[in-house]
Amino acid sequence: MYTPEFDYHKAGSVAEAIALLISHDDARLLAGGHSLLPLMRLRLARPSTLIDIGGLGDLKSISVHGDAIRIGALTTHGEIAASHDVRHANSLLAEVAGGIGDPQVRNRGTIGGNIAHADPASDWGTVLTALEASVEVQGANGSRTVAIGDFFQGPFATAVGENEIITAVTVPTLTHHEHDTGHGHGHGHDEHGHDDHGHGHEHDHGGGGLAALHGEVGEYAKMSHPASFYPVVGGAVIVNVENSRCVSARVAVGGLVPTPVRARAVEAALTGQELTADNIAAAVNHLADDLGAAIIGDVFASAEYRRVVAPVEVKHALFHAIGLAHH
């Protein structure tokens, strides 16, 4: 199936891409094309001009500066999953990247393209929201930084201006490097090697032994469409744990309301609690408490279904975070 007709321009630099955006009404940027081309084929998007930024090598980079990791907008999910720097600085990013779509999607799809598309259930949207990432956006008058909480403005709508381009995503590192717990649960974890770098505790995978749990741990769990692997509902958690007590928590859900959101009520319910299975199960029940906006539904999953599944995904993420496999 063809897309509607469009004019095609290949940008040789970020500046040229911005100039092309300014000089063409109704133009869209084309990166890997894995969000935009399917939309165009369904006639859900019909830009008159595509500006191909796929060749902009400057936007393909991963660098760690102190306690932040900066990922160029055109870095593919596959490159993020395979990056040692990412795995050391924030293993959650690597695990999520390795669980997006399938190998071919990961070879082409980019982090910038994914968030620009702003699917309410996107893996990156949910996880970057929990991680309090920020997005670098460049326009004719220079660069600005948008906090992830301000970035998503509605389904398929972002804070990126008409003539702006996303150049990078910056994510805080996790202070604790979560190791591979070997739980083969298929929630975006892959089989990459165990990373024993820089953490000083052991999980007891038998299910008890939480007394020794320390540090910051990030996890993500999702329910995906079985054929496309598009996430339907996902939950991301970052918990800061001392002596198995939750000192602070950041929890985000995707696919529940029109944008990925922080679940503040769950965060509050977890804070100060010992992270036991019972306490976690009680905390996730608060998920819909303060979300305000209407729960979305579509052909894959009704609003009622999402309302039930979302707390389960958050619970699974929390169980993984404390080293308890779920059922």
């Binding site: 199936m1 063809y2 897309t3 509607p4 007709e5 469009f6 004019d7 095609y8 290949k10 084309l30 094309g33 894995h34 081309l37 399917p38 084929r41 595509l50 191909d52 796929g54 596959g78 779509g101 399938d102 190998p103 071919q104 999607v105 070879n107 082409r108 083969g184 892959d190 089989e191 054929a227 496309s228 692997f229």
Partner: protein
């Protein structure tokens, strides 16, 4: 407005002018006559259209021909060297890794990359690596078996593996 592109396909430089909306899979099949690559779902789910683009497997139904400009494409037709099937092709044949064959070209292209990244995969790793390829006939069992068999042959005869890898890289622009 047509756009000029230059793509190296299976080692041969192809220059052409295409409508920007031409999908890579249509370019390969209709313009170049390389019909080994199939269109199944047409929505980047089934993997029947997988080819290698500068070495990376991609779904050619979700890639514009203009996006491949200046790059190298390897299709199923480009795997055999000097009349000898690629070890993965041999293994699919020997292990009955296909029934109707519609998914096979895409499966084989995916497996070539999988084995390049992980030359000694477990059966589970093979299954995970085939996530993007759907087969409606075999139940996957013999595809996994064929992949594991190919891994063994390629480990035992690294020369042929290297030759193919080099061929892929030589066309890598």
């Amino acid at each position: 407005m047509k756009v000029p592109i230059k793509v190296t396909v299976n080692g041969k430089v192809c220059e052409s002018e295409v409508e920007p909306r031409t999908l890579l899979v249509h370019f390969l099949r209709e313009e170049l006559g390389l019909t080994g690559t199939k269109i199944g779902c047409d929505t980047s789910q089934c993997g029947a259209c997988v080819v290698r683009l500068d070495g990376a497997t991609v779904k050619s139904c979700t890639c514009l021909a203009v996006q491949a400009d200046g790059m190298a494409v390897t299709t199923i037709e480009g795997l055999a060297q000097n009349g000898n099937l690629h070890p993965v092709q041999e293994a699919f044949w020997d292990n009955h890794g296909l029934q109707c064959g519609y998914c096979t070209a895409g499966m084989i292209m995916t497996v070539t990359e999988l084995l390049q990244r992980n030359p000694h995969p477990s059966a589970d790793e093979v299954r995970a690596g085939l996530e993007g390829n759907i087969c409606r006939c075999t139940g996957y069992h013999n595809i996994v078996k064929a992949t594991l068999a190919a891994a063994e042959t390629m480990a035992a005869a690294p020369a042929s593996t290297t030759a193919t890898t080099e061929a892929t890289e030589a066309t890598g622009g």
